[in-house]
């Protein structure tokens, strides 16, 4: 009887020892770190569908439409802290937006842009780019967490108003100028 008890005790002890052996079988390696560094750079790009517009002027007329509209596509990826994207149109001079090179000029106040569904507006404001009183804010986009990466389009049509001031007496000639479109995030 005593021998049987001793045998059971030995078997239980062996079972415990075996289970302990299996429990300790899990082995881990050391943890090896990999440092990750990912950069998403800020960007702001603006592309135009065309880079030239012609006008056939009619003396004294307030309606001298451009030959083609131009669509500006502005795309951006912005960092936190940016709150707005603005799109501007401007000339470098308000008095000589277009000139014949002989002292005869068309001022920026006679140059109109109709952007998307907005009414046509003359370039008479001082904006962040260009000459004083020679610009126009075309669009303003508030930036939130939902549009830090986004794009917008501004479909512009153009008109030259020759009906005001001395412009009805504008000499016949070819008038050239450069209208700039530029975006700014701030």
């Amino acid at each position: 009887m005593k021998t049987v008890r001793i045998s059971w005790a030995v078997m239980v002890g062996a079972a415990i020892a075996l289970s302990a052996s299996f429990a300790s079988a899990q082995v881990n390696s050391g943890a090896q770190p990999i440092t990750l560094n990912a950069k998403l750079a800020e960007s702001l790009t603006l592309n135009l569908s065309a880079n030239a517009v012609n006008f056939t002027l009619s003396a004294g007329s307030n309606t001298n439409a451009g030959s083609a509209g131009v669509t500006a596509t502005t795309a951006w990826t912005l960092a936190p802290g940016r709150n707005n994207v603005n799109v501007y149109a401007y000339f470098t001079s308000s008095t000589a937006a277009l000139t014949d090179g002989s002292g005869d000029n068309i001022p920026s106040s006679a140059f109109y842009i109709k952007n998307n569904a907005n009414p046509a507006a003359a370039l008479t404001n001082t904006v962040v780019f260009g000459g004083a009183n020679a610009g126009l804010l075309l669009a303003n986009v508030p930036i939130t967490a939902l549009n830090r990466t986004a794009n917008r389009t501004d479909a512009m049509t153009f008109n030259i108003d020759l009906s005001t001031g001395t412009l009805p007496q504008l000499p016949a000639n070819t008038y050239t100028g450069t209208l700039n479109i530029q975006a700014q995030a701030l």
Binding site: V27, N28, A31, Q32, L36, A145, N147
Partner: protein
């Protein structure tokens, strides 16, 4: 008389034999056997080494393909006990929501971090594994341990990608994080 002489000679010879044989028998002397217990331990072990500890990413907003600048090879070497059946290699982050972060509350989750092992398909770190945060891990590989590979080595060539398609409005910035590689045998 002769008989007496013979007996005398024989007796002398016998005595000499006894005298010579006694010292010979006394030279064989054995000590008791002294045992030496031998205990040799072949410790189970796993070592993991990485070919590099840093990966850079140049991110493109909204793009699904932003590969890491370099692949990394993890070499796992092991010596296992008979009770071990598998050796698994894991990759993990400590957090599933902020695998990489700009430190300003903008994060890249582990679900958008992908690893390709040995040319296989890219897989995101979305599982809960033996190490790291919940839903922030990936079992990179598993090696069955049998009698023939109780001691062995395995190489995992890992390449990395960040998928920004689900994060189109991620703010521009520098995002950093730590990916950890670790092996476990059980």
């Amino acid at each position: 008389m002769r008989m007496l002489a013979k007996f005398g000679t024989m007796g002398a010879l016998l005595l000499a034999a006894i005298l010579f044989s006694a010292p010979c028998r006394a030279q064989v002397l054995n000590s008791g056997a002294s045992p030496i217990t031998l205990n040799a331990i072949l410790q189970d072990s796993i070592t993991l080494t990485l070919s590099s500890h840093a990966v850079n990413f140049t991110l493109v907003a909204g793009s699904a393909n932003n590969p890491g600048s370099t692949g990394i090879t993890a070499t796992t070497t092991w010596v296992m006990k008979p009770s071990v059946n598998s050796l698994n290699l894991y990759a993990f982050f400590s957090s599933s929501t902020a695998a990489l972060s700009d430190g300003a509350g903008h994060n890249i989750p582990s679900a958008d971090f992908q690893i390709s092992d040995n040319g296989g398909a890219f897989a995101p770190l979305t599982n809960t594994v033996a190490f790291g945060g919940a839903n922030a891990g990936l079992q990179v590989s598993s090696v069955p341990i049998r009698g023939y590979n109780k001691t062995g080595t395995n190489s995992d060539v890992m390449t990395f990608n960040i998928n920004l398609a689900p994060l189109p409005n991620l703010a521009a910035g520098v995002y950093t994080g730590t990916l950890t590689i670790q092996a476990q045998a059980f």
